[in-house]
């Protein structure tokens, strides 16, 4: 029971943090938020085959109880895809920052210099 609770609450915390960060206005925070969300999704997918301790996913002579191997394959695919996507979005937001001089997700007007001195949440 406690094991399920641990995994479930970890996913919940990750998603909550991810959503909060993804809703921020600056690309770096959004990218971090997306990374947290994708971590949570990977954990969730992994748990979709039920949480079993100490059971092998593939055939073994000495074992009679197995865990579902399919979610592990799914997670592997998901990890590879999200890893590539995260790398892409990092490069994209860097390029966007360098070309437009602003790292705001949708504000074309906020210059980057105004970022550090002022409070983060002051929108123009």
């Amino acid at each position: 029971m406690s094991y399920e609770f641990l995994v479930a609450s970890a996913i919940g915390v990750l998603v909550a943090g991810g959503i909060y960060l993804a809703l921020r206005a600056r690309t770096f925070q959004v990218v971090l938020g997306l990374t947290l969300i994708s971590h949570a999704v990977n954990l969730f997918l992994f748990a979709s085959g039920r949480l079993e301790l100490g059971r092998p996913p593939i055939w073994d002579k000495t074992v009679s109880e197995y865990t579902d191997p399919l979610p592990q394959a799914l997670v592997l695919t998901a990890i590879v895809i999200t890893f590539g996507m995260t790398a892409f979005v990092v490069i994209l937001s860097l390029r966007s920052f360098l070309e437009t001089g602003s790292d705001h997700v949708d504000g074309d007007t906020v210059p980057c210099d105004a970022q550090d001195g002022l409070a983060e949440d002051e929108e123009p």
């Binding site: 993804a22 969730f44 997918l45 799914l74 892409f88 979005v89 070309e99």
Partner: protein, 506 residues
């Protein structure tokens, strides 16, 4: 096994081979890369037509990848709907490719042709697969290619819109995976046909989870289809994309619609017990709202490409109004309109580009500019594209909207559909008349002499799209018969299940 038995995998395999070949050839011999890309598109069109001919009798071709039997391995399923989408994709790809080559848009970056082929691979795969996780993978393939294509040509505006586009779709992918995880946990399968048989057996205590999964999956497809309130990513993205790319993107929203049409009847259809048709009550009002928002955008758009982007939202929504009826008549009318609206959207983007190339610094902004040479011809094409997009006679939009209006009368609350479709048509007509008269009629003060006009060759692609729209209205009888049959096939999931889940001799 003859080569014909491998037909369903070829639309995925050919662009997958063409893309790296084009990439290798690009640096040294550009002409060779272009040749590979064009050849690949032509072969895909041929394959799609052969596939359509083979399934038009009602056969459902199931292709087990690696010969692993159905619920365990991944299957590709080619039926009437899949063949229709494949033909549409390959036709649209050819038009977009011709426009890119003629206008030289493919020379603005190194990787246009490989990305274009990967995009086609993702699209074809998404239309053919019979496995939900595989659908996710092909979604990612087409999305990552679309990120590259959307940014093709670069510039601050594209990068800015690109960040939003990518972020929205990454969140969409995360939701897709959560829905998949829930569905797998509940049913223990990822094969759509198999899942459709198993959802009825989900215990009563888990029905809530099942409904959440169904609605999450619907939301993901609604993001792709740009349904209100999930449409905000689309106008900016499409309006700043290279026009040839935007024309190809006209089918990206239809991928969302296709996935809804494929997954909802198959998995959450009649046999799904308490979860039957869970997404249906949400879809209809959302589609109506999207139609209003889309054509309101057409009405107020500041440039021709922005207007085309809103027209894509509006016409996809009109299509979903029909789809939300979930009956053979409405779905059949909707599928006919799907083919039409894809081509009409592409035609609008291409005509906008043709006008922009002749107006110098005015671009495609909806303000009075110079009286460029060949204005009459471009104006005529814009009018034809606008007629198609709004659904006036004689082009196929009229027939499509008529079919939708006639079919929805069998539904409850059909008055809303009539009011919204007819009202948005009027708003759309006024919107297109406004931008058309500004761009093609008035001459702006201080506009000066127009720049030297480019060769007329860039009118080929939009003319091709318009000719296909005309052909679609001439052949409306045959086309709507086909779409009706396709709709009936989709709404009978037992047929697909029987074809996919064959018992195999060991």
């Amino acid at each position: 096994m003859s080569l014909l038995d491998h037909l369903p995998i070829l639309p995925v395999a050919i662009p997958a081979l063409a893309a790296p070949l084009a990439l290798l050839a690009m640096r040294r011999r550009r002409a060779l890369a272009v040749g590979i890309a064009v050849l690949s598109c032509l072969v895909q069109l041929g394959l799609a037509l052969v596939l359509m001919a083979r399934v038009s009798g009602g056969a459902i071709l199931a292709y087990a990848l690696g010969d692993w039997p159905a619920p365990f391995g991944i299957v590709l399923v080619a039926d009437r709907l899949a063949a229709l989408m494949l033909v549409l994709t390959s036709v649209l790809a050819l038009i977009a490719l011709v426009h890119a080559l003629v206008t030289g848009a493919d020379r603005k970056g190194w990787h246009f042709h490989p990305l274009f082929q990967f995009q086609l691979m993702g699209l074809n795969g998404a239309f053919l697969t019979g496995d939900l996780f595989n659908l996710f993978v092909f979604f990612e393939v087409l999305l990552i290619a679309s990120y590259g294509l959307m940014l093709h040509g670069q510039g601050p505006a594209r990068l800015k819109a690109g960040v939003q586009y990518v972020v929205v779709n990454l969140v969409g992918s995360a939701l897709f995976l959560i829905a998949l995880g829930m569905l797998y946990a509940l049913t223990g399968t990822l094969n759509m046909a198999d899942m459709g048989l198993r959802v009825a057996a989900v215990p009563a205590a888990d029905q809530g989870m099942l409904r959440i999964a169904a609605l999450l999956l619907t939301s993901v497809f609604a993001i792709k289809a740009a349904l209100v309130p999930l449409h905000l990513w689309l106008p900016r993205t499409y309006a700043v994309s290279t026009p040839a790319v935007a024309a190809l993107f006209a089918i990206l929203t239809k991928v969302g619609v296709y996935s809804l049409i494929r997954v909802v009847p198959q998995v959450f259809g009649e046999g799904a017990g308490a979860a039957a048709w869970v997404p249906a009550p949400w879809l209809y009002p959302a589609a109506l709202a999207s139609a209003v928002v889309g054509f309101a955008g057409v009405f107020v758009a500041r440039s021709l490409s922005e207007q085309a982007a809103y027209a894509v939202i509006g016409s996809t929504a009109t299509l979903l109004v029909a789809v939300a009826g979930w009956s053979a008549q409405t779905l059949g009318a909707g599928l006919y309109y799907l083919a039409h609206s894809t081509l009409a959207g592409a035609a609008l983007f291409l005509v906008a580009d043709v006008a922009a190339r002749r107006r110098g610094s005015f671009g495609d902004a909806a303000i009075a500019g110079p009286a460029f040479p060949g204005r009459g011809m471009v104006a005529l094409m814009f009018m034809a594209a606008a007629i198609a997009a709004t659904g006036l006679p004689p082009l196929s939009g009229f027939i499509g909207k008529l079919l939708i209006l006639m079919s929805v009368t069998t539904q409850p609350d059909w008055g809303w559909a009539w009011g919204v479709i007819l009202g948005t048509t009027l708003i759309g007509v006024i919107g297109f008349a406004r931008t058309g008269s500004a761009v093609f009629w008035k001459v702006g003060e201080g506009a000066g002499a127009p720049p030297a006009p480019p060769s007329r060759a860039d009118m080929i692609a939009p003319a091709l799209a318009l000719a296909l729209l005309a052909a679609l209205s001439v052949g409306a009888g045959a086309a709507s018969d086909y779409t009706k049959a396709a709709a009936a096939q989709v709404l009978d999931p037992a047929q697909t299940a029987a074809a996919v889940l064959v018992e195999r001799a060991p």
